[in-house]
């Protein structure tokens, strides 16, 4: 008779625990911000947590979010995409040259062409991975070399700078200021992207197919999902977003150069993995990427604010990455345990209820 309230109570505690265990990235975020705030307050008597600084951090993180989402989508089917940085370089180099050649065509034509080119490179990646059965790591490594090589061949050692000012608003534009916190265009772009991708992954059939293919390709194939098509589409989306990120970076730097974004593939993987995605695929929530990107930028920003020498920054970064990933795995196991217990108690209660 009184099983129902008990059921609710137990479920509530467990839901709470599960919520806690799946938010490791935000616990980490809290820790990082806490440490830097205290250090800044004690050592320099400056306020790390002031709205202007947070705004700078979130603005920078927005760029990382775009590449992070590009990588996360690729990781979902277990096909890592190492060519992100090079795709950014090769597409933007062409973009810069197009802008230079003719200034009277409307801006959206080169932008469309560039995004299409990014999608094409993704399609090539997808074909290599699925049809030629080359492991994604190697296939995207090869395209990384090829794209980077083309960028160098195309532009040589020159740099194209001073781009169209109207175009630069997508990275530099400010929308609204609340107190000292400035909402910028990149923030809105990143937010829109996250919302769209989240909708696609959680609410659409295609998104669920991606998760299914990622957790078990053979089972997905056996249940009639065109796995090759899903993986190719996934790679196309990933490279498309990479080209888009390239445009954002170019607009921020106001220059196109073949050597840009040389370590972005690593950054993207780090952001995605910090956000709770796994290399084997089939697990992860896009909102984690937001946390991962903000952590990365907050650490960079914080280390600069306490004037840590650059050679020590990689060391601290490495330690923090290990710590975060450890917390992710540790808490994930706990979460699974709670889920198991949850199911067991439910079963026990239901069976007891049936007996009564």
């Amino acid at each position: 008779m009184d099983t129902m309230p008990r059921l609710h109570r137990i479920l509530d505690i467990h839901t709470l625990k599960r919520g806690l265990y799946s938010s490791s990235i935000f616990i980490m975020l809290f820790l990082v911000f806490g440490v830097f705030t205290i250090y800044n307050r004690v050592a320099f008597d400056t306020n790390y947590l002031k709205a202007a600084n947070i705004s700078v951090i979130v603005n920078q993180a927005s760029f990382l979010m775009v590449v992070g989402v590009a990588q996360a989508i690729a990781l979902l089917t277990g096909d890592v995409n190492l060519s992100i940085g090079s795709v950014m370089a090769v597409t933007t180099v062409l973009f810069g040259r197009m802008l230079q050649q003719s200034s009277d065509i409307p801006l959206f034509i080169p932008i469309m062409l560039i995004l299409f080119l990014g999608a094409c490179i993704g399609f090539l990646n997808g074909i290599l991975i699925t049809k030629l059965k080359i492991p994604a790591f190697i296939a995207s490594f090869a395209t990384m070399y090829i794209c980077r090589g083309f960028a160098w061949v195309f532009l040589g050692k020159t740099v194209i700078y001073r781009l169209d000012e109207g175009f630069r608003t997508i990275s530099m534009g400010k929308v609204y200021t609340i107190g000292e916190f400035t909402i910028t265009v990149p923030m809105l772009i990143a937010l829109a992207l996250i919302l769209v991708v989240n909708f696609m992954l959680t609410r659409s059939t295609f998104g669920r197919k991606i998760y299914f293919v990622g957790s078990n390709v053979v089972a997905a194939q056996a249940s009639g999902i065109p796995t090759d098509r899903v993986r190719i589409t996934n790679q196309v989306i990933s490279s498309f977003l990479a080209a888009f990120a390239g445009l954002l970076y170019v607009a921020r730097l106001n220059a196109c150069e073949p050597g840009m974004a040389i370590k972005t593939h690593f950054e993207a993987i780090t952001v995605a993995l910090l956000g709770g995605f796994v290399m084997t695929g089939g697990y992860g929530n896009v909102w984690g990427v937001v946390g991962g990107a903000i952590i990365m930028t907050a650490i960079q920003n914080g280390m600069n604010s306490i004037q840590l020498p650059s050679e020590l920054q990689t060391l601290v970064m490495g330690l923090i990455i290990i710590l975060t990933v450890f917390m992710n795995t540790f808490l994930l196991e706990k979460k699974m345990l709670v889920a198991d217990k949850n199911i067991e108690t439910k079963k026990a209660i239901i069976s007891r209820g049936a007996q009564i």
Binding site: I134, P135, A139, W152, I269, L273, M279, E311, T314, I321
Partner: protein, 349 residues
């Protein structure tokens, strides 16, 4: 236990044999300076550094993990050794401590991955940053030199040639084998003997195939995984020793990007990223194939940006060739047989 000899099949050959074959023939035909004793000895010397790294990488890949920190370990141990030489520590001690550092760092990788159950990709990526930053801090981001002294004459000796066969007067007609190549050969032989003639191979493959089942079958999975990571660290430290001897100085950024080349050489050699299979012979051929491409293109005077494109294309071609030859093996063998026997079996295939 006597091993049964496997029947000859094309897919039993190391995959990278075809790649090396194609690359070698193409390079010899296209670049006249490629197939000279001088260039070949240079090629072997250059590839020996990558060879040691990719040996460690292959072992790690076979257990189903990856070790991205080899480049960082190379820089770090190199800086440690060079700084010791600079401080007038006898060469033998400097080398011993350098190698020990590599082993310890590798063990730390292994401990993180097994005991804390962290994913290997991101963990070794983070430790790569840590090792690289230790190298930068110790060397203060400058190339480390040392003065030649009797205490470090060993380094000079090891830099000399072991065998020198002159086919002619000019430098390109002299085949040289230096002590470095000899060291590499000895290390490679030892690793291959340990791997192929002991139970190491089956243990590593079992762990790579399914760690849980390997553990239930009584294999000390954590012990062997840590051991493999330590071996990878040791091999990286040896590679840095080769760099140190060859250049007589050490840049703290030497190892950057080498981890990817090591993965490429290992994968060209038929090792998969999933683990559970692979071959060390294949890795040797893969590393040689990679450096043959580089050497041929640089001899032909081709721009480095084009070299990148070609290497990417060779990588795709090589992987595709591996896959295709495995897929069409029956048909190819049938075709060869029909050509050799003079009968036409082609219609049956």
């Amino acid at each position: 236990m006597k091993q049964h000899k496997k029947p000859f099949r094309l897919s039993n050959l190391p995959n990278s044999l075809y790649v090396l074959f194609v690359v070698f023939i193409a390079a010899s035909l296209a670049v006249p300076k490629f197939l000279t004793p001088g260039n070949l000895s240079n090629l072997i010397l250059q590839s020996s550094i990558l060879l040691l790294l990719s040996f460690g990488m292959s072992l790690v890949l076979m257990t189903g993990c990856i070790d991205l920190s080899v480049g960082g370990i190379l820089s770090m141990t190199g800086v440690v050794m060079a700084t010791m030489l600079r401080m007038n520590v006898p060469a033998i001690w400097a080398i011993a401590i350098g190698l020990l550092t590599g082993v310890l760092f590798g063990t730390m990788n292994g401990l993180l991955i097994t005991k804390l159950r962290l994913p290997s990709f991101i963990t070794t990526f983070a430790t790569m940053g840590i090792a690289q930053s230790i190298a930068n801090v110790v060397s203060e981001k400058r190339t480390v030199y040392w003065d030649p002294k009797p205490s470090n004459s060993l380094i000079d000796t090891l830099g000399k040639d072991f065998i020198r066969i002159e086919f002619g007067q000019t430098a390109k007609e002299v085949l040289t084998i230096s002590y470095l190549v000899l060291i590499t050969a000895v290390v490679i032989t030892v690793v291959m003997l340990l791997f192929n003639k002991t139970t190491l191979k089956s243990r590593v493959f079992a762990i790579g195939e399914n760690e849980e089942i390997a553990r239930l079958a009584g294999i000390k999975t954590h012990f062997w995984q840590i051991g493999i990571y330590a071996a990878s660290g040791l091999l990286a430290a040896m590679a840095s020793l080769l760099v140190l001897i060859r250049t007589n100085s050490l840049q703290p950024t030497t190892g950057e990007g080498l981890e990817f080349q090591a993965v490429v050489a290992a994968v060209l050699g038929g090792n998969t990223l999933k683990g559970g299979k692979g071959s060390l012979t294949g890795t040797i051929l893969g590393a040689l194939a990679l450096y043959s491409v580089r050497s041929a293109l640089s001899l032909a005077g081709i721009d480095t940006s084009v070299v990148m494109i070609v290497i990417g294309a060779v990588l795709i071609l090589g992987m595709w060739l591996n896959e295709t030859i495995q897929m069409y093996e029956e048909r190819i063998v049938g075709m060869l047989r029909s050509i050799l026997m003079g009968r036409n079996h082609g219609h049956n295939a």
